[in-house]
């Protein structure tokens, strides 16, 4: 039956294509008002597509100067000299920024995923409906707090706390690891990662909770009737919804990569290829937020920031697309 699998989508594609663009046949079948309404709706819906396309075109256009000047070096270089002396050209590159984004997102996931798993299990498996309703509302509230507020809270409450209590302790315990060496800065990669983990937690936890709730009741009842404890039941639920959990993590990663304001306020904003997490750093998004308004003078400067925006856009689109495909695949499998 393999041929069917190949032919079927193609066939529907042509049929639907005809349905949309062969207006003559549509006029015969449908009422004029209906047709107009459908076309108007389709036109408005396609605006999303146009926005995405326009976004790419605009950003590439603005970044073109930087793309042609620096080429592939831009991605692998480690220097950022916007105002050069004499006749030398300014130098821009993105490796430390990509590194910063990857490191902060990874650490944020490492902190956030286990906690989200606990939250999601507590809400969907280990608690009653009423408790679930109230606490879910609180977790959603965590997602509703604006990014800039987390940034402010990070500067004035989290940083002093971490710097005096947590970081010295971490350094004492893990003194042999290269990530915890050197002078402790308050605004640092570690602080950025922690704030990021707080911000992506509600996303991951909410998706995981929904994924767990969608596991059929019969699965739980079956294993309970075999004498499983509640934790063993929960383990089965996790096992059953593995793919959905991966989707939730990918969604969290997508948010972490794109998060701008809070991380700009707490990461320290310094362009370096750090090894220690207590050093200040930069991410793709925070350098745009921080330097955009001062980037007027050499034209390459603004263009380089635009190219960073382009990298960020592509990164976010790829991660989110994977997440969507995974989550869709999962929900289709469950609904069958």
């Amino acid at each position: 039956m393999k041929w069917r699998k190949i032919e079927y989508p193609l066939k529907t594609f042509f049929v639907k294509f005809n349905n949309i663009f062969n207006l003559k046949s549509l006029f015969k079948e449908k009422n004029k008002g209906d047709l107009t309404f459908e076309l108007v709706c389709a036109a408005i819906a396609s605006s999303i597509l146009i926005i995405l396309a326009l976004m790419f075109i605009m950003i590439i256009k603005e970044a073109w100067l930087s793309i042609t000047t620096y080429g592939i070096e831009f991605i692998f270089g480690t220097e950022w000299i916007p105002y050069s002396l004499g006749n030398e050209k300014p130098v821009f590159s993105a490796l430390p920024l990509i590194w910063g984004t990857l490191v902060t997102s990874t650490i944020a996931l490492l902190i956030s995923v286990p906690i989200s798993l606990g939250v999601a299990l507590a809400l969907s498996e280990f608690s009653g409906k009423r408790f679930n309703y109230v606490v879910s509302a609180l977790v959603e509230l965590l997602a509703a707090i604006p990014s800039v507020v987390y940034g402010l809270w990070g500067i004035f409450i989290l940083i002093p706390f971490l710097k005096s209590h947590v970081y010295p302790f971490l350094q004492q315990v893990f003194y042999f690891l290269p990530f915890f060496q050197g002078r402790i800065h308050g605004p640092s990669v570690m602080t950025g990662s922690i704030v990021l983990s707080i911000m992506i937690l509600p996303t991951i936890a909410a998706v995981m909770r929904d994924v767990f709730s969608s596991v059929p009741k019969s699965q739980r009842e079956a294993i309970i009737s075999l004498g499983a404890t509640r934790w063993e039941t929960a383990k089965l639920v996790i096992q059953y919804s593995k793919i959905g959990v991966i989707g939730a993590i990918m969604l969290g990663l997508g948010r972490a990569v794109g998060e701008t304001m809070a991380i700009t306020m707490v990461i320290g904003n310094s362009f370096n290829l750090f090894t220690s997490l207590f050093e200040p750093g930069y991410t793709l998004s925070s350098i745009i937020a921080n330097e955009f308004t001062e980037a007027s003078s050499p034209p390459e400067y603004l263009s380089a920031l635009m190219e960073i925006g382009l990298i960020l856009l592509i990164l976010a689109l790829v991660i989110n697309s994977i997440a969507q495909v995974v989550v869709r695949y999962y929900s289709k499998r469950v609904s069958r």
């Binding site: 597509l49 926005i51 707090i145 800039v148 997440a323």
Partner: protein
């Protein structure tokens, strides 16, 4: 007998271990829940403790002073936030709602599933990229302006509203559509008058949630409305908004004058977001 007893005892012991493990893991998961909620309460308590004492009538309505100068208020920022939210909804809500209608009512083609996928992906687009878009399209043509800010925020708003609207419209029972169609109404009238009427509360909730989300967005505004200290007189001028002055005041070196102002502005912003969320909770409470 003896063997049976010993087996029983062993199973009992094993069961106890399993039960203990289960209890430990459940406790861990509730500890994770508490740990996750600590930042929420910490943020809310600090915002109230540090923000509430700053709030007064004059703080809410007076002009923004230059950095480091005492007195004044955050009036233009509140005005800016309200105007930008209104303008964003004016652009975003119709586009989002009609796209949602299209996805829900005419979904049997590849075009609709493509749009659905793209709007799902766009929901999580980095907000700063939306800011770049607003800057590249509007600021480069007419300059720093409220309109540019609204366009940037609308890009973040449209996918959210599209998907919520679609889901809400799908929840409208088919019987209602069929009844109306049986009376001879054309489909577009059924959709606009009857389906939309049934779904309006849900759509309103979705719009409110999207508003709460974009009210706190800072990064796109940084690239589009630039920030100013004055009242907005025209939509083509630079402006300011609550999240923007929170950011600016928090970066100020004058700790004793400007930092309390940042907290005061945060208090107002959080209050707005919370009130919207509570209204949404109130509207949707009967579902659970």
């Amino acid at each position: 007998m003896l063997i049976a007893d010993s087996i029983k005892e062993r199973m009992n012991r094993e069961y106890k271990v399993r039960k203990l493990k289960s209890k430990v893991m459940i406790t861990c998961s509730f500890l994770a829940l508490i740990l996750a909620l600590i930042p929420l309460f910490s943020v809310l308590i600090e915002v109230i403790l540090r923000g509430a004492p700053v709030i007064s009538i004059s703080f809410l309505v007076k002009r923004i002073p230059p950095m480091g100068q005492p007195g004044g208020g955050i009036g233009p920022a509140i005005q800016g936030t309200l105007i930008i939210i209104a303008l964003t909804s004016l652009i975003g809500v119709p586009i989002g709602v009609f796209s949602g209608i299209y996805l829900a009512e005419y979904d049997d083609n590849w075009f609709a599933s493509m749009i659905r996928f793209i709007s799902d992906v766009m929901t999580n687009i980095p907000s700063i990229v939306a800011g770049i878009f607003g800057w590249a399209t509007i600021v480069l043509t007419i300059g720093w302006s409220v309109i540019a800010g609204a366009v940037a925020l609308a890009i973040l708003m449209i996918p959210v509203i599209t998907r919520t609207t679609e889901e809400i419209i799908r929840m409208v029972p088919d019987e209602i559509r069929e009844a109306a169609l049986a009376l001879g109404l054309p489909k577009w009238k059924v959709t606009l008058n009857i389906v939309l009427n049934n779904a309006k509360k849900g759509i309103a909730t979705g719009v409110l949630l999207a508003l709460a989300r974009i009210a706190g967005e800072t990064a796109p505004l940084l690239l589009t409305i630039l920030g100013s200290r004055f009242w907005i007189r025209s939509l083509t001028e630079p402006a300011t908004a609550l999240p923007l002055i929170i950011f600016n005041f928090s970066q100020s070196p004058y700790s004793s004058v400007d930092w309390p102002r940042a907290w005061g502005a945060t208090f107002v912003l959080i209050l707005m977001v919370l009130v919207i969320n509570i209204i949404v909770r109130y509207l949707t409470r009967e579902k659970y």
